[in-house]
C-alpha cells in the first residue's frame, strides 16, 4: 500500500467524493490557487474549477450560514475554516442554525455539511490561532464531532462525514498534517462512532485524541521497556462516542488515563471519565481515573512555554505510573 500524509489523505477523500458526487463542493478562504492556509486544497481548483472550489471573502459568518442554506436545499458543502479559533465567528450558524434545524422543524429538512478546520498548538501561532475547542461543539446536540489522528483514519472518516446527512465538525490537528500512514487508493468509509484500538495492552488503558494519540503511543513504547503494558484507544469521533470499546478496555485493564490537548477544565476528558464511572467498568477499576489536559491558560507564543501548556510524553508516562501506584 502507499503511504500518504494526513494532509494528502484529507485532500484525496475530498477529491474522490467530488468526482463521485456533483453536489459536493468546497468553500472557504484562500482555498483556490493558494491551496488553503495549510495547503490541503492545493491543486484542487485546477481539477474542479472555481465553481466547486469556491474562494470566499473573509467572512466566516456569511460563509458558514451559506453552507447551512446550501445544505438545507440539496448541496453537500464542505466548509474549510482557516483556523478552528475562528469558529467563534461561525458559531451562530453552527450552533443555533445547523445544529437545531432538523429538530426544530420536527424532522423536516436536513443539513448535510462538513466544517473542516485545523486545531491545536505547536506552531507558535499563539493564543488566537492555537486552541482546541472541540468540547464546545461536542456539547451541542445536533452536531457530530470528528477528530482523526492518522492519515488512514482521516480519509475514511472524512468520507463518512461527507456522506452524513447531519452537520459534522471535522477537526484536523495541525501537527498531524505531516504524519503518514498506509492509505488505500480506493475510497473507503470509517463509520462515525467507532473507536480504534491503536495498541493493545493489559495494564492500563489510555484514551487519547488527535495529536495526543501519537504522544500516548510514544509513552506506551517507553513504558513497555519498563514492563508496563498499555492499551491506547483513539475514539476518533467524540460525537457519537464509542463508549463500548472504552468500557471493554477498562474492564480488561482496570485503569484509565484520558489525555487530550484541550484545556482539562471543562474538557471532553471529563465526559469520558464520567461515562466510565457511570458504567459497569466502574466495578473493575483498580485506581482512580486520571485526566490529562492542557493547562487553563491561553496558548503562549514562546515555544518552551507553548510546549509546557499541554501534556507531553513524559507527563503521560508519569500519569500511567501514578495510576499504577494507586489502589
Amino acid at each position: 500500500m502507499r503511504e500518504l500524509t494526513y494532509l494528502e489523505a484529507v485532500r484525496e477523500a475530498m477529491s474522490q467524493e467530488m468526482r463521485r458526487n456533483e453536489d459536493v463542493f468546497i468553500l472557504g478562504e484562500d482555498i483556490g490557487v493558494y491551496g488553503g492556509a495549510f495547503g490541503v486544497t492545493r491543486g484542487m481548483i485546477e481539477e474542479f474549477g472555481p465553481e466547486r472550489i469556491r474562494n470566499t471573502p473573509i467572512s466566516e459568518a456569511a460563509i458558514s450560514g451559506t453552507a447551512v442554506g446550501a445544505a438545507l436545499t440539496g448541496m453537500r458543502p464542505i466548509l474549510e475554516l482557516q483556523f478552528s479559533d475562528f469558529m467563534t465567528i461561525a458559531m451562530d450558524n453552527m450552533v443555533n442554525q445547523a445544529a437545531k434545524i432538523r429538530y426544530m422543524y420536527g424532522g423536516k429538512g436536513k443539513v448535510p455539511m462538513v466544517l473542516r478546520t485545523p486545531a491545536g498548538s505547536g506552531t507558535g501561532a499563539a493564543a488566537q490561532h492555537s486552541q482546541s475547542l472541540e468540547a464546545w461543539m461536542a456539547h451541542v446536540p445536533g452536531l457530530k464531532v470528528v477528530q482523526p489522528s492518522t492519515a488512514y483514519d482521516a480519509k475514511g472518516l472524512l468520507k463518512a462525514a461527507i456522506d452524513e446527512d447531519n452537520p459534522v465538525i471535522f477537526y484536523e490537528h495541525k501537527l498531524c498534517y505531516k504524519t503518514t500512514s498506509d492509505v488505500p487508493e480506493e475510497l473507503y468509509s470509517i463509520p462515525l462512532g467507532k473507536a480504534d484500538v491503536k495498541r493493545e495492552g493489559s495494564d492500563v488503558t489510555i484514551v487519547a485524541t488527535a495529536i495526543m494519540v501519537h504522544k500516548a503511543l510514544e509513552a506506551a513504547a517507553k513504558l513497555e521497556e519498563q514492563g508496563i503494558s498499555v492499551e491506547v484507544i483513539d475514539p476518533r469521533t467524540l460525537v457519537p462516542l464509542d463508549t463500548e470499546t472504552i468500557i471493554e478496555s477498562v474492564k480488561k485493564t482496570g485503569r484509565l488515563v484520558v489525555v487530550h490537548e484541550a484545556v482539562k477544565r471543562g474538557g471532553f476528558g471529563g465526559e469520558i471519565a464520567s461515562t466510565i464511572a457511570e458504567s459497569e467498568a466502574f466495578d473493575y477499576l483498580d485506581a482512580p481515573i486520571m485526566r490529562l489536559g492542557g493547562k487553563a491558560v491561553p496558548i503562549p507564543y514562546n515555544p518552551e512555554l507553548e510546549k509546557s501548556a499541554i501534556p507531553g510524553v513524559d507527563d503521560i508516562v508519569a500519569a500511567v505510573k501514578e495510576t499504577l501506584n494507586r489502589h
Binding site: G32, Y34, P57, I58, A125, A126, Q128, P300, E304, S308
Partner: protein, 327 residues
Amino acid sequence: MTQLINIPAQLKKTDLTHLLKQMWQIRFFEEKVDEFFAKGMIHGTTHLAVGQEASAVGSIAVLQERDKITSTHRGHGHCIAKGAEVNRMMAELFGRTTGYCKGKGGSMHIADVDKGNLGANGIVGGGFAIATGAALTSQMKNEGYVVLCFFGDGASNEGSFHEALNLASIWKLPVVFVCENNQYGMSGPAKEMMNVEDVAKRAVAYGVPGKVVDGNDVFDVMNGVGEAVERARNGEGPSIIEAKTYRWKGHSKSDAKKYRTREEEQEWRAKDPIARLRDALIGEGLLTEESAAEIKAAAKKEIEDSVEFSKASPMPTIEDLMEDIYA
C-alpha cells in the same frame, strides 16, 4: 524612477525627517524579521508590511499622544509609528521576557496599552468594535481622544466592520477607520472579494464620509486622516479613510504569491513610499544626500541593536506560564 510627491508647506523640517526615520525603522525592522524567519531564528508566524510604511506613519503622524489606535495582524509599522521601542518589539518576536508581551504574545499580539496602542490582533476584523468601544469611553468620559482603527481591505468583508461602523455612526463616536488596502486579503484580490472598487464607498451605507488617499504618499495620508481626525475630535463622528497601497512580500512566510504577477509587484516597487519621501525632501533642498544617509544608518543601527538586546534578554520560565491570566 520613483513617482514624485508634494510636500505640504506647513510641515517643519524636524517633522519631515522624523517621518523618514520612522519609515526606515519599520522597513529595517521587518527586513530583519524576514531574515530571521528564513534562518529559523524566530518561530511562529509573522506578517510583514514592507511597502506599506507610509500609511502607518502618515496616519499616526497626525495624532496627539493621548490618541489611541487598534492594529492588525500586520501591525509592526503601526506599533513603531505609535512610539513603541523597537528593542521590546524585537524581544517579543524572540519570545523574551523583555518583550512587550513578555514573550507570550508574539508578532500578532503586540500592544502597549499605556501608550494608546490597544493591540495588534490575530483575528481579522477583531479591532473594529474594540476601537469603537475605546471611542465610546472617550465620549462618555469626555476625554477628548480619538481612536484610529487600522484594517485591511479583506477585513472590510467581515460582519464586524459593518456592525461597528453602524454603531460608531449612530453614536457619533470619535473613531477613524483607516483601511490599508494593499490589494489582497491573503490570496484574495480585493476586486474579486467585493463588488465596489473602493472600501471607502461603503461609508455611504453608514452615513459617514469616505475618502481614498494615495497610501504610498505619506503627505496624502496625513491630509486625509488629519481631516477625519479633526472631524472626530469635533464630535462629528467617524469616517473611513482608504489608503491604496501594496505589500511587497507574501502574506506570511509560506506564500508562493501565485495569485499575482511579478510585473504588478515591480510596478508597485516603483512607488516605494520611502524613496518618494526621501527624493522629495532632497529635491526641495530640505535634506542633503549625506543627512538622508545618516538618518538611514541610524535607523538601521537601532534595529541591529534591538537584535543584540533581544539575544541578551532572558527567556520566560515555566513559572511565568500561569502568570497574567487574570488581572
